[in-house]
């Protein structure tokens, strides 16, 4: 089959690889119909995630048709259309039983930190991802959700990751009616976090980014106020946010940027020197901006071993800090209903589509934020 493969930092190619097979009786093999490129794939693409091996296939947001079924699978059959959570979860361990499928204990042989994840380095178990013609899906009775007949692949594709991730972020912020919510990052997760904040009754939603075209999209798509951080008095985003909120600060700040943030030379240099994992500028600003006794939520991806975060400020301001990979399975039915009711239109953020062969170009376009790119989606096979 053809699959996207990692060759080195900022270098991916579409190459031939052996087809995936059933390796466990509970597996299925999926023919991939849609595979999105996630903002967190760019951390892999830039070589920032440890144990990203040459030849790896990325892709943890995908949907497709069941092609082969393992003998122990009871809920799926050949030809079923499914969307798959990015977490690989057993559904029965200590953590899954309590709703924390993102930290499943039975899918990652590398560490005690998180569950297996499709196409996200060998620190998440060494599974190939869905930016390919076919992909192996373990624990097939647990993760995949059948796509309802009245919906198409693109209606539900983002239930695999970014929509539940964004919703969970808003939820972790404990947003109460009338709250002011600041969201760092106007990428796809930031946009869906803004939508989710409105669903939870936020009074104001302010989105911060450095790309004017993304802020324009955010204003149109999510009806939010925006701050272009380079225009905010010599990068003084924190000062601007305080001014906009009676000098108190937002009630909730959400970091939807992660480890490749711009805006601080100190963070940039220490990241480049590998003294910390990337640059945690968005999280720093979130902690500094949030009101005393407010909530900060980190859902941008950070890697090991550590980052520069102002713990003193966190402690003295009495901030509640919450962070997690998303427990996707838990949110799929609820968000499906929001999509069906027209409260969220996820596919409206797709700006670029292309065949698998176009993947290297789409990675470049997405990484360099060219051509008004918000969300690129690959089409490895016809539906």
């Amino acid at each position: 089959m053809k699959a996207l493969t990692y060759r080195g930092p900022s270098w991916v190619k579409v190459m031939s690889k052996p087809d995936p097979r059933i390796e466990h009786p509970g597996d299925v093999v999926l023919r991939v119909v849609r595979a999105a490129i996630c903002g967190s794939d760019l951390h892999l693409y830039h070589g920032l995630v440890p144990d990203t091996r040459v030849g790896s296939t990325f892709g943890h947001e995908f949907a497709g048709v069941v092609e082969e079924v393992g003998p122990a699978v009871t809920t799926l059959k050949r030809g079923d259309r499914v969307v798959v959570p990015f977490n690989i979860s057993c559904g029965a361990c200590f953590f899954c039983q309590r709703g924390f499928t993102s930290v499943c204990d039975r899918s990652n042989t590398a560490n005690e930190i998180l569950s297996g994840v499709y196409g996200y380095s060998h620190t998440t178990g060494g599974y190939d991802g869905g930016q390919a013609e076919y992909v192996r899906v373990p624990y097939a009775d647990v993760g995949p959700m059948k796509i309802p007949d009245d919906m198409d692949y693109e209606d539900v594709l983002f239930l695999s990751d970014i929509l539940p991730t964004a919703y969970q972020a808003a939820e972790m912020g404990s947003i109460a009616q009338g709250d002011t919510v600041a969201i760092f990052g106007a990428g796809p997760v930031g946009l869906f976090a803004a939508k989710s904040a409105w669903l939870m009754g936020a009074g104001r939603v302010i989105v911060i980014d450095k790309e004017a075209y993304r802020l324009e999209f955010a204003r149109a798509y999510a009806r939010v106020e925006t701050i272009h951080y380079e225009d905010a008095g010599r990068h003084d985003v924190v000062g601007r946010l305080r001014k906009m909120t009676e000098n108190r600060g937002p009630d909730v700040c959400i970091d939807a940027v992660g480890c490749e943030a711009s805006g601080s030379l100190l963070h940039k240099l220490t990241g480049l020197a590998r003294l910390q994992a990337g640059a945690a500028t968005a999280l720093l600003w979130a902690v500094q901006a949030v009101r005393r006794a407010g909530h900060v939520v980190a859902i941008g991806v950070y890697g090991p071993p550590w980052n520069l975060v102002p713990l003193g400020e966190l402690m003295n301001k009495g901030i509640t800090l919450r962070a997690a990979q998303c427990n996707v399975k838990r949110y799929m039915p609820h968000l499906l209903e929001h999509i069906r009711a027209g409260r969220i239109d996820p596919k409206a953020i797709i700006t670029h589509r292309g065949p698998l062969d176009a993947a290297p170009d789409l990675y470049r376009t997405f990484a360099r934020k060219r051509d008004g790119c918000i969300k690129p989606v690959l089409v490895p096979n016809a539906a």
Binding site: H24, A72, T75, Q97, A110, Y127, P304, K329
Partner: protein, 151 residues
């Protein structure tokens, strides 16, 4: 006098701006489809964060052990899980460094330092042709610059 007028104008302007902002906010809410649909914490699927223990599905695929393929990542600090990834097994010098890295527990920085080194080695040893072309071009460039400087 002028200063006082300016101050009053400024205050009036701020009041007007605040009023406009309030209007805009109100307008935003009425125009946002689904605003407040999940305002009640009871409507949110992840509240409370931990629910009473229950299996997600009736099937128990975790009771069967994967036997096909070798784990492509393994640490002596973790048991082999019922399913595991087999994507890219460790190979060559980078593979040796990776095996060494996973001997350290996941809370030790040396694991990640070694994995980062292994990643660099991997790129060089598994892209030999492009790397040789790149090194050749670099060497030619350096020689060219030296030749120009000497002239």
């Amino acid at each position: 006098m002028t200063g006082s007028t300016t101050h009053e104008e400024h205050a009036a302007h701020e009041e007007h701006a605040a009023h406009e902002e309030q209007e805009e906010t109100t307008m935003q809410h009425s125009e946002i489809i689904g605003w407040g649909a999940d305002a009640s914490f009871d409507a949110r699927p992840g509240v409370p964060a931990a629910h009473a223990p229950r299996p997600i599905v009736d099937a128990r695929p975790d009771r069967l052990q994967q036997v096909i393929g070798r784990p492509s990542v393994w640490s002596p600090h973790r048991p082999i899980t019922p399913v595991y990834g087999t994507a890219i097994p460790p190979r060559g010098l980078s593979g040796l460094i990776r095996r060494l890295a996973y001997r350290a527990p996941d809370y030790k920085a040396r694991r990640y330092v070694l994995l980062t080194i292994a990643d660099q080695v991997d790129v060089i040893e598994h892209n030999p042709l492009p790397m040789m072309v790149f090194a050749g071009a670099l060497a030619l460039g350096v020689l060219g610059v030296r030749a120009l400087v000497r002239r």
